[in-house]
């Protein structure tokens, strides 16, 4: 396998000049986004630089505990990002989300490694960390969409929920329409992207692998595996989070706790 040609640091620095074009557009039309964009570019650069350093170090060590700890930190970070972006209460939601994400990752990564990838060493950093990262990135997106849909619908359609309860539904039955909505909204972007993948866009991982010297034939197999894993992990997390959170976010009389969501 020939590996990718390295990029010279100076050349990469010159590459930043390309950003002059979008920055000009953002400034010219007074979008108010100049500062945000500059900060985002800076964060992207620093974060990736540091991750490069960490990963090089972690790959070299390839120690099971350090790898697990790294994944654990990623899961925690994903948990807090999702809660913050869904305006939920940290106190009530950190446990449901954390356990839902962790469980989905264990199931999905476990299955992929045992059935498809079969790495010699199960906790191989080179496989475990990038795959976990890719799954988590997508879990964040679908969970923010799914949880926002669930709780905003619960707020707007309170009558439907109470009507069901008062006419003999259990809490779980009364929540079915809300779960249906959350799953629909969370699954839709993923379904759309699966349906057009390869036609319109070449996915980042596959592009990276090809640039890194893999055959397209190998790259697509990885991509198919990762698409299946992403879809499963994302939806599993949404369902599990809502199921687990339902145990904590309602009182004994099935009323939604008003302190569970920040804007009510």
């Amino acid at each position: 396998m020939n590996s990718a040609t390295d990029i010279d640091w100076f050349d990469l620095a010159v590459g930043y000049l390309l950003l002059v074009l979008p920055l000009w557009a953002i400034a010219y039309f007074r979008t108010g986004l100049v500062k945000d964009t500059l900060i985002a570019i800076a964060r992207m650069s620093v974060q990736l630089f540091l991750v490069g350093l960490y990963l090089e170090f972690i790959f070299k060590l390839n120690n099971i505990w350090i790898n697990m700890l790294w994944v654990l930190l990623m899961v925690l970070f994903a948990t807090y990002t999702i809660i913050g972006r869904s305006a939920l209460s940290y106190k009530i939601y950190w446990f449901p989300l954390f356990s839902a994400i962790a469980l989905s990752l264990i199931v999905v990564i476990g299955y992929c490694f045992i059935v498809i990838l079969k790495p010699d060493y199960f906790f191989e950093a080179r496989y475990l960390i990038p795959i976990a990262g890719m799954l988590l990135g997508n879990c964040i997106q679908s969970n923010i969409i799914g949880l926002n849909a669930y709780y905003s619908r619960l707020r707007e359609d309170q009558l439907l929920y109470y009507y069901a309860l008062a006419n003999g539904a259990t809490r779980e039955e009364a929540l079915i329409p809300f779960m249906r909505d959350a799953l629909r909204k969370a699954a839709n972007p993923a379904i759309a992207s699966m349906a057009v993948i390869g036609l319109v866009s070449l996915p980042g991982m596959m592009t990276g692998q090809i640039l890194g010297g893999s055959n397209p034939g190998v790259a697509i197999k990885y991509q198919i595996m990762i698409m299946i894993a992403i879809f499963t992990a994302s939806l599993l997390t949404v369902v599990l989070t809502i199921f687990i959170a339902n145990k904590f976010a309602f009182d004994d009389f099935d009323n939604f706790k008003s302190n569970a969501v920040k804007i009510l």
Binding site: L159, Y162, L165, N167, G168, T170, D251, N255
Partner: protein, 214 residues
């Protein structure tokens, strides 16, 4: 059927119901009236466990309103809300929705049951296939009421059940519900006809209770 003793409901210092007590016997038709803001809706929500009272005792069908009994209580009542802005597709969904719950499945009405109750409440059966946007508020109200009746509960909670009805439909509804001696009804109402037919009237604005003589 319902015993309420020294009920206090409110949020912190904003007390909505202060020291309310009343009892509802089996078969009674109770109307609760009062100016808006007098706590009518709050009372109904409290009886269904949707608002937790500050103090006082509530017993429904012999059971205290407690987390262990809430499912029992809620599966022995039926509630007709005043607003029926439920996000459902058509009239049939509105009628059938409560029968999708495990506890009510065995009660699912067949076409004959539906025809019979629709006739009693002055509704046409061809309404069932119409979307909820196409039918009037009064039709929606009676379809949801039909659903409450078909659930065969001993106790009905009706929130302004005649608010959207014309005189003819109103009298059909009154004679159907009030003619059934088994049925216990607790209603919130402004409607003079409805109040006149009720056996007990509780006025929350003046905390006065009046027993109508039949």
């Amino acid at each position: 059927m319902i015993q309420v003793k020294n009920l206090v409901v409110g949020f912190e210092k904003d007390i909505v119901l202060n020291n309310l007590s009343f009892e509802v016997e089996k078969g009674a038709k109770v109307a609760i009236k009062g100016l808006s803001g007098s706590g009518k809706s709050t009372l109904l929500k409290t009886l269904m466990g949707f608002i937790i009272p500050q103090s006082g005792e509530i017993k429904i069908l012999g059971k205290p309103l407690h987390k262990n009994h809430i499912l029992y209580i809620r599966s022995n009542i039926a509630w007709l809300p005043q607003e029926l802005n439920l996000s459902l597709n058509n009239a049939r969904d509105l009628l059938i929705m409560p029968f999708s719950f495990a506890r009510n499945k065995a009660l699912t009405p067949d076409e004959k049951d539906i025809e019979s109750i629709f006739f009693d409440l002055g509704l046409e059966c061809n309404l069932l296939n119409k979307s909820l946007h196409e039918i009037s508020g009064g039709q929606k109200q009676r379809i949801a009421l039909a659903s409450c009746v078909l659930l065969k509960r001993p106790l009905l909670f009706l929130d302004e059940p005649t608010s959207a009805l014309d005189a003819i439909s109103k009298h059909k509804v009154i004679s159907y519900l009030f003619g059934n001696p088994e049925l216990t009804i607790l209603s919130l109402s402004h409607d003079e006809d409805w109040i006149r037919h009720s056996s007990l009237v509780i006025d929350l604005s003046s905390s006065e209770t009046r027993v109508n003589q039949p």
